[in-house]
């Protein structure tokens, strides 16, 4: 498992709808929301790259010092973003695919308004479990 990983789901309106710190080691002395800032900055590249490829998994698109941003873009242009420091492409890809499935299940919930914050604790638990499994 990666020592640092921050996972976010960004809706198609560029609003974060889910965020989780999934690193095994507590954060370094960086300022609290450093990871969010980095992920937000990476959206610039995602919006350029998402249209150049038909693949959903965009792999590592941005690098910040030793941190890497990997992105997975769903068909509805919801972006799953992961900030990590390990180089485990296959694991990340599997992680994204599983989370995508989870996200689709959330969308199927008739009480969930697409584009709104995901507050389900079940979803949260599952994502953290997946992170432990793959990252």
């Amino acid at each position: 498992m990666a020592s640092t990983a921050c996972f976010m789901i960004v809706s198609k309106n560029d609003i974060p709808i889910y965020e989780a710190e999934v690193g095994s080691v507590p954060k370094k002395e960086d300022a609290a929301h450093q990871h969010q800032f980095i992920l937000h900055a990476a959206l610039d590249i995602v919006q350029d790259m998402a249209w150049t490829t038909s693949a959903m998994f965009l792999k590592a698109i941005d690098r910040f010092n030793d941190l890497v941003v990997s992105v997975y873009v769903t068909a509805g242009h919801t972006r799953l973003m992961l900030l990590h420091d390990s180089r485990n492409d296959d694991g990340i890809k599997s992680f994204f695919q599983e989370v995508h499935e989870l996200y689709i299940k959330t969308l199927l919930n008739p009480l969930y308004l697409p584009g709104s914050r995901i507050t389900s604790s079940h979803f949260d638990t599952k994502v953290r479990a997946l992170a432990r499994k793959y990252l």
């Binding site: 560029d14 609003i15 954060k27 937000h40 990476a42 959206l43 590249i45 709104s116």
Partner: protein, 939 residues
Amino acid sequence: MVGMSTKTPPIQRIVEIKTIAEQLHFKLSTLLLHSGKVVEAITWFRQHTANYRSLMGSPEVIFLHWEWLSRQYLVFAQLLETSSADVQHVPSMVSVAAEKPTEWEFHSAYYYQLAASYLKEKNVSLEFALSMSEDVGPIDGSAESVVASAYLGQFARLFEHGDTCIMQSLTDDEYVRYALAEGKRFQDSFEIIALLKRSCEAYSNLKAERTAAYCGLQMAKEYFAVSDFGNAKQTFDNVASLYRREGWLLSLWEVLGYLRECSRGISSAKDFIEYSLEMAALPVTSDAFEPSSKDCGPAGPATLSQRGKIHEEAFEVARGESELNLKEQNTELKVNSDYPLYLEIDLVSPLRVVLLALVAFHQPVVKPGAPSLITISLRSQLPTNVEIDQLEVQFNQSECNFIIGNGKKPHIAAISNIQPGRRVETAPSLVLATNKWLRLTYEINSDHSGKLECIYVIARIGPHFTICCRAESPASMNDLPLWKFENLVETIPTKDPGLAFSGQKAIQVEEPDPQVDLILGSSGPALVGESFILPVTISSKGHAVYSGELKINLVDTRGGGLLSPREEEPFSADNLHVELVDISCHVPEDQSEAPSDKIQKIQPSFGLISVPSLDVGESWSGQLKIKWNRPKPIMLYVSLGYYHQSGEPSLQKVHVHKSLQIEGKTAVTISHRYLLPFRQDPLLLSKIKSVSDPDQMPSLALNDLTMLIVSAKNCSEVPLRLLSVSIEREEDNDACAILPQHEEFRESVVHVPGEEFKKVFTVIPKLNCTRLKIGTVCLRWQRDSRVEEQFDFCDSAYQVTKHRLPDVNIELPPLVVSLECPPHATLGNPFRYSVKIHNQTEFLQEIKFSVADSQSFVLSGPHNDTIFVLPRSTHVLSFMLVPLGLGSLQLPRVTVTSVRYSAGLHTSPASSIVFVYPSKPHFEASDMKETRTNSVVAE
């Protein structure tokens, strides 16, 4: 170099290695970039940094490592920048593997950013190292003599003994001291800011605003660190607006926390309260992960409890209960009467989450003076309840403003400066709970017509804190941007759900009801040609009329652009179907001097006339004269605008509108026909040639009498009186004689609707020409005033309807055949029936004729033959007939055929009928003549 060992100590050794590596790398990168191999250069650079990144060296001088690393990035950024001018690289982005450079790595901005980031790292390490070294003791002056030696990356101490200089190698301990002393001399923060600024600008140029914002954030933090709060606040503000727009709450929270501290730094209580309130109202509701507070920025952890804390702190300062601690010199700022606090919240302000004011009128329109209900709904997303001391509602009509006091704090309601005469209401409580609407409904009265719009809702909390909130309509309310996607209970701002979707913050106050009658005298359809006169009467019932203006508009009913009043182009009379000719009014004698403000403006479709002042009960009337040039239905709009009180220009004008549809109709249609004399048929060659041509000009025989029958039909719905009929010649020549030229009816003919009036003229062409202009029939008529006595204006005026007779072709008939027979016969008595064939040519004419037997007559004479008619002579075929039956009988048919022109004469059935009496009747000769004329007309 004496005494210098070949083996350098470990710290200096690493420094030397890195310095040399830097040199080599610089040359390699320059070469690669100059040859355009950008990808190779980037790969090389990455490898270079990866190789040396882990080579940190001794922990005391770790800042040297970071400084070196930062310098690598900076140099490469500058190299890339200078070379990228000629190498326009478009990175292929099909698949970016981990080994391939990412998109940003092609841009210098990325390297500047990282250079700044490592420089920051260096700064932190340096400060740490300095704090450690201070324990050791002050650095001795010997460090000052350390210089770079002749070898790259090596340092040596310089000893001066008289003229000779001796370079002595350093121990690591000495070098560390030297490096620390050197490091102290530089202000890294400004360099970091400069680097980040370059990076930020470069990213902005690449349209990567989010990445630029990240650089901006780091820059602002650096400004913050060096206590440059003005710059920091400005940069943070830019960054915050992006996060606010995109709804990145935690980032926004963090930035707002910094901004709050910055406003403390620049001693701005207003900014401090604004940022605090915005933070407190952010939708940070989850306590999902709570980092320990030391990891957080100045904002503290983004939790509900922290929001509550910020909220309380802000309101304590705003109410003046506690001072705002400022950063500098331990001074404090207090909100009091010298420093009142005034916040304004508009439609785009981020503070809408703090206080949202919706105003809805219950009706869309209201009569002046009539009460209307208004609901004011307030909502706040602040985490704890807010008690408002006083609410003021402001309208565009300031006399409607009112104040709502808090019933629980009656003594505080009095503190504010309430203007005398201002309406004050009291609400039982003015407490805003989180995400709950506070609904207040009041009655409101406006005496002024026009738009009454609520503009501001002003909340006063404490003696010196005011929030001025721009009123919004529930119908056009936008969602709160940050709260839109949160799990919130959806509530509607008003009790009535319909009002929540349609309520408006403005109401239309109607103008007072007019108490003046505007009467348009309708008189049925208008007739084309006449000046149609329409009486307009203004009679006052309850209002006096001052500065009255009467506007008249003519509009095509079919909506065509007949006559728009705005059209400035000159109208010519031909294309104008309907025009307003004149407006006349009865000016009272004493006002004959005509006041200077008397307006009268008449255009073909638009008229404006001023109405004299009228007292209650008086009336005024005028006449509109409208002329139709062509039949067309129009709409006439007449509107009267007036003030019902004199000398008060602030009053609204009262308007009365009336409209009337008037049909313009053709009064008389005239038609004509030519008729040959009875039982006389000239042979007109042009008639033979083209038989079935409807457009053919009628042909008349030269020197022969032709009857012209003009018939006029009354198409209108009113009886008309015909005054005269005449034929006006176009050319005054003797080409043809028309009788009578002009006939004035001694006793005018009343022409009832639908009736046809006929007049017979005789025409004798005198000149042989192919196109003879006969002239124009002019019929003078007027409305029959005996039927509708009120229209006395028709007496003198008359209208002329004209009908141009078409041109005729005059030709000399070669042959003229006339039948002669007595007008009536008696049973058993023989009578003569003769056919005269007159040859008008210079040629011998061969004529064939035949007579068909008739059962009603016994016939004697030639039956059929071919005869020759000599030039300019007449041949007569004569028959004796004895009638055998009674009544109207058909004479035997005579067919005459000209061989030369292959034309035959077929007499019309009407002309070959004779009436047979049983015995000889007795009547006057004059009667007989009339019978004959009548029969002609009846045809």
